[in-house]
Symmetry: C2
Subunit: 339 residues, 2 copies
């Protein structure tokens, strides 16, 4: 039996071949009506139609596929970013292939090689460390690489980040206005740019407070952006300092702070107020509901998608970094103290 052709599919579905072609092109989802797309897909599947993607790819000289690399799928902040990337890429007729690295540089290199063997047109990388050799190599080879959230020291490549300084400033001011004077920061691992950015913003925000007594900025580094690492860091902090409020570098670390406080017989918010960072999904439903600095996760993904397509089309354009606004959200994890 001969393999069915595009013309066969179009004839059986009762549409023009050009319409059938659009309906069958993953890069063009939404360009034909849902009913037409469904009918053409149904006919194509029934007849066993198989377009030759390598031939398609040769014709267009692009795979219209972007490799997306994230550090840890089980960190709830990344799925909404990935969703934003997918939604944004679809609007431009691109698809995404996803790989996660578990924050391990050997796995990261392997993930890139798997994606590269699929001839991606560009990359969106949310997993970069400050000294990321793989990302540096990609950029050096002229491969379009857009960073999300995490930057590489001194590397000039397009990126989208959140404006953490403003959010951190609001959080620290809110705590100070509620009477807190012993305010600590549980920093993220400092090989990640966002950790040092947030820590620097904390120092700046505490230094700018016009209250008396002037608070001394207290910092403890967590070894990872996880609940367990947050708990360990908070435990260490409690051994050496008395604090009434903590700003954690992300929401998972903040949950670790909840745990360390409970283990130490302390109550949040009665004894210690806690603020997280990111406003990951379900943060409002935690016990107690977690105050946090929200970043526009879905929008960050969409902007990254726009940037990667822009720099594929205009490889000579000067790289730029887009910083999206953050917002401090006060919830029940903060309580005023008398000063």
């Amino acid at each position: 039996v001969d393999k069915p052709t595009l013309a066969d599919v179009a004839r059986v579905a009762g549409v023009h071949p050009a319409t059938a072609s659009r309906a069958l092109n993953p890069a063009l989802v939404g360009r034909t009506s849902a009913a037409t797309t469904a009918r053409v897909l149904e006919v194509a599947q029934r007849l066993g139609y198989d377009p030759d993607p390598r031939a398609q790819s040769l014709r267009t000289r692009r795979s219209r596929t972007i490799g997306v690399v994230i550090p840890d799928l089980t960190n709830p902040v990344f799925p909404p970013i990935v969703r934003g990337i997918e939604d944004g890429l679809r609007d431009f007729g691109y698809e995404s292939l996803l790989a996660s690295t578990d924050n391990d540089f050997v796995r990261e290199a392997a993930a890139f090689r798997v994606l590269q063997s699929r001839r991606c047109d560009g990359y969106i990388v949310a997993s970069a460390s400050r000294d990321d050799a793989t990302v540096r190599q990609l950029c050096a080879q002229g491969v379009v690489t857009v960073l999300v959230n995490r930057l590489v020291d001194g590397l000039d490549t397009p990126a989208v980040i959140s404006d953490d300084s403003t959010g951190m400033g609001s959080a620290v001011q809110h705590l100070a206005a509620a009477g807190h004077r012993q305010i600590a920061h549980i920093a993220g691992p400092l090989y990640v740019s966002v950790s040092s950015t947030r820590m620097a913003a904390f120092f700046e925000a505490v230094g700018a407070l016009e209250v008396s007594p002037r608070p001394r900025p207290l910092v403890q580094e967590a070894s990872d952006y996880t609940v367990d690492a947050g708990r360990a860091a908070m435990r260490k902090l409690l051994q050496r300092e008395k604090v009434t409020a903590v700003v954690a570098a992300n929401d998972l670390i903040a949950i670790g702070c909840y745990q360390a406080l409970a283990e130490a017989g302390l109550d949040c918010p009665a004894d210690v107020s806690v603020v997280g960072f990111n406003d990951m999904p379900l943060t409002a439903h935690l016990n107690p509901p977690l105050s946090t600095v929200a970043m526009p996760q879905h929008e960050m993904g969409r902007v990254a998608a726009g940037l990667v397509v822009e720099y594929i089309d205009h490889p000579d354009r000067a790289p730029r970094i887009e910083a999206l606004p953050t917002e401090f959200i006060a919830r029940a994890s903060i309580r005023p103290v008398s000063t």
Copy 2:
């Protein structure tokens, strides 16, 4: 300048070419020491070594890549399953490429076409609907397809699911022993197999209770496995029935129940006890901590990885379904009532 060869990389790294080859093969991560792997990768990157993956693929006649399709990355139960799949596949020297479908059959078909054009050796599908045309088509073409969690009606293909009946039985018995007689189930959307399985298990568990008065099983269907759909369904249920306990079809729907109860001026657990399903990450940190039926998410992913490799190696083996044990976990969202 000539392109560097594998022999060049091995020479500069000071290792045998076979060792360099293993270190550079994404399928063999972990077969060389971390130090050696790191050194070889560093040298390969520095020299700009580029293996020809198409040639590699032709030599082995396999891509050693599995397409993984999930319905919704922002449902927190899927990332641990995906992590289990990735860990399991790596043990067998396979890599994964991930696509999500947003529970949309047009997007699902598009996702499969993108993955198929990358010549995957097989598929692991967590997104199947009961009448899934795309999955039926894959199986009809002899493509190895392993289902996770969600089955397709009447389709004979390998799968891994959780033993929901036992878990549902424990949950209902626990509620009855705590004095509850008005027990409702918020079912998931019934086009998904796991929804009907859990609903049937609920009917069976309530019917098997040896208490008096004998509870009448109450059911309300949620339109989706989301917080919003759970809230809407619980709102409807509260309009027509008085309940003292609810078992939701998953943890996100249970959070929706929390919201609907609060809107109705009811307290969980003082007025209504709530049980979820899955024990997704952070469930223990919700307000109140959510009782739930835990399924072994990471293990389900690992088993799925083992099955897909087994059926790639033995395509004629009869398909089997593995059911992994579930466990009821009681937390503060349940309170006894006087009978």
